[in-house]
């Protein structure tokens, strides 16, 4: 996948001009005035590209880009001078599909955007439509939603940790995290029949009552996974190679995060304590006691620490929710045919990757007039260029991993 721009050889600019002309391999001096060549013929002594500069395609089939992300790197030797992301390989027009489906029919589609945290997507979409309908899910449904969404945050962070560590060269965490993530997927499977694209929620609440033994299984999982997080940390937190590969790599300041609209753990790792679950609580989050972990340096290592701490906070939330889960109905009174009044709504949630928003415009019919998804991965990926300038090629891999993107959501 390497594409080099035809440079004139290493020492082209050192050689005298007339010697270059006599070189048999030299491109003959053609009249290019009628062609669309970009070669600058007026100043032939200026090299077309600095001999050390190299344009390299990373992806779209590069495993470390976590999907089909193509990054065009401009390099000076090993140093990154600039990048350009080429995205859209997975674009399937989710927003256009939304305009051609009913509100309920569009619900499963949102699972397929960020397919490693489908529950969060469904939560955001269902709550947005509920807001538009002006209904509220019953308390029991809200608790179930919180439990599943936080389990999903765990699963998403575990998958992130495993693949991110694998990119950097640590293989063991991948096996550990996938082993433990399996337990979460089993709970999902028992609850709604699906492991990844869960479609767990309905507009107005949840479709399914919890299965017999759900609470016990969740509690067992909490007991099971708490020491496992320590295990991941033992492998990495003080590991010398890990520290060298992540400390001071991909630094981004809080001010840059705000300007670039970056949210989620990336924002928090640069020191800004902002989490939508606290700032603008949705579902039942206002009822639980939890911390918002932050970092200081905004580097890859801090983002790792923040996500590890977030996993522990998720456990805290799940524990409180599963112990306090109220009795009652799981569905609010919603009409069979969902037909919101004319209007528009924006609702966003704290997805594992950042602020996931849904902007829905209703024209009073059974189909949304417009569904706009504000994807955290897409917006966060924009910061890649700023974060990798001046770093080495290998660090680009680390930074792509640390932003935690899912291309299904970037491209929609």
């Amino acid at each position: 996948m390497t594409m080099t721009v035809p440079a004139q050889g290493h020492s082209a600019k050192d050689r005298p001009k007339d010697e270059m002309k006599e070189t048999p391999n030299e491109v003959p001096n053609r009249d290019l005035s009628h062609s669309d060549s970009h070669l600058d013929l007026d100043t032939p002594e200026k090299p077309y590209l600095d001999a050390n500069e190299l344009i390299i395609n990373m992806g779209p089939q590069h495993p470390a880009t976590h999907g089909v992300l193509r990054v065009i790197l401009k390099l000076d030797g090993e140093k990154v001078l600039g990048t350009e992301c080429v995205i859209g390989y997975l674009h399937r027009g989710v927003e256009k599909i939304g305009e051609n489906r009913t509100y309920a029919m569009f619900n499963p589609y949102v699972d397929r955007m960020d397919y490693v945290s489908a529950v969060s997507n469904g939560l955001g979409y269902c709550e947005a439509v509920e807001k538009l309908l002006d209904v509220e899910a019953p308390a029991r449904a809200k608790y179930i939603r919180v439990i599943l969404a936080e389990l999903n945050r765990m699963a998403s962070h575990q998958l992130w940790l495993g693949t991110h560590a694998l990119d950097i060269g640590a293989m063991t965490p991948l096996f550990y995290t996938f082993r433990d993530r399996e337990e979460i997927l089993k709970i999902f499977e028992k609850y709604c029949g699906a492991r990844l694209t869960t479609h767990a929620f309905r507009i107005g609440g949840c479709q399914y009552e919890t299965y017999a033994g759900f609470e016990k299984e969740v509690k067992n999982f909490l007991k099971f996974v708490a020491p496992k997080i320590d295990e991941y940390e033992e492998l990495l937190t003080t590991n010398r190679i890990w520290l060298q590969r992540t400390k001071n790599v991909g630094v981004i300041s809080a001010a840059d995060c705000v300007a670039l609209g970056v949210t989620g753990p990336v924002l928090r790792a640069s020191g800004k304590k902002w989490d939508l679950r606290k700032a603008q609580p949705y579902a039942a989050y206002s009822e639980f006691d939890f911390e918002v972990p932050t970092g200081e340096n905004g580097d890859t290592y801090d983002r790792y620490l923040v996500r590890m701490a977030e996993m522990r906070q998720s456990l805290r939330i799940i524990e409180q929710a599963v112990n306090g889960i109220p009795e009652g109905p799981i569905m609010a009174k919603v009409p069979k045919v969902i037909k919101p009044p004319v209007g528009e709504i924006y609702h966003s949630i704290e997805a594992p990757k950042g602020e996931l928003g849904f902007f829905i415009v209703s024209d009073g019919s059974i189909q949304p007039y417009r569904v706009r998804v504000r994807p955290p991965s897409f917006v966060n990926l924009q910061a890649l260029d700023l974060m990798v300038r001046g770093l080495l090629v290998a660090d680009v891999i680390a930074v792509i991993g640390t932003i935690d993107i899912v291309l299904g959501e970037v491209d929609r």
Binding site: D134, A259, Q382
Partner: protein, 205 residues
């Protein structure tokens, strides 16, 4: 335009589904009577809304709907108001920039900026209407995040943002024809064409 695709759409209680773009939402502010069943946008009263109403007069309309506030502003005021919102009102985080297409309206597009202020923990939207083919000043110099968001709006709607550093398609290939999120962009026709050209068979859709 969507019914062919939706055999499973449950029948509407009252007869035929109306053509989609009949009731433009932004215009709902102007004619609230059109909306008989639900809440209607109400005037938004707040120091911020007052301030901008006084400063710009009829160019700004401040409304609130379901507790969410927005300003409907004249296109000519766009870069100024956005900059002031960032500098004076601390709306330092541009959550989203998007558009909505109303093909039957004279000014076909609503362009929407979705803003958030960390200091005030408050959201608001800014809306403006532009005609097809008209351009709008880019806000990349106000919020860096606008870069990709504006590129996406350009890709999907064909809205030109003046002063954008690199306005080109972002999700679709460069040689793509049309802008998919416009209401007149038929998805069936698109599918049939593609299948015919690339596979040489009739599309099953």
């Amino acid at each position: 335009m969507s019914h062919e695709l939706n055999p499973a759409v449950p029948p509407l209680p009252e007869g035929e589904k109306k053509p989609v773009a009949e009731k433009p939402v932004a215009a709902a502010a102007a004619k609230p009577a059109a909306n008989s069943e639900g809440p209607v946008p109400m005037p938004w009263t707040s120091p911020l809304a007052e301030k901008y109403r006084n400063r710009y007069g009829s160019g700004v309309e401040a409304l609130t709907y379901l507790g969410q506030n927005y300003l409907v502003v004249d296109r000519s005021l766009i870069p100024d108001i956005l900059r002031l919102l960032r500098d004076e009102e601390q709306f330092d985080y541009c959550v989203d920039i998007t558009a909505v297409h109303y093909p039957k309206r004279e000014k076909q597009f609503d362009v929407i900026w979705n803003l958030y202020s960390y200091a005030r923990n408050e959201r608001m939207r800014v809306k403006t209407q532009i005609a097809d083919g008209a351009s709008i000043p880019s806000s990349v110099s106000i919020w860096a995040t606008a870069n990709w968001l504006e590129r996406e709006a350009f890709d999907m709607f064909g809205i030109r943002f003046d002063g954008h550093p690199d306005l080109k398609r972002i999700l679709l290939p460069e040689d793509w024809k049309g802008h998919p999120l416009r209401k007149d962009y038929g998805i069936l026709q698109q599918d049939q064409e593609w299948v015919q050209i690339n596979l040489g068979i009739e599309s099953g859709q």
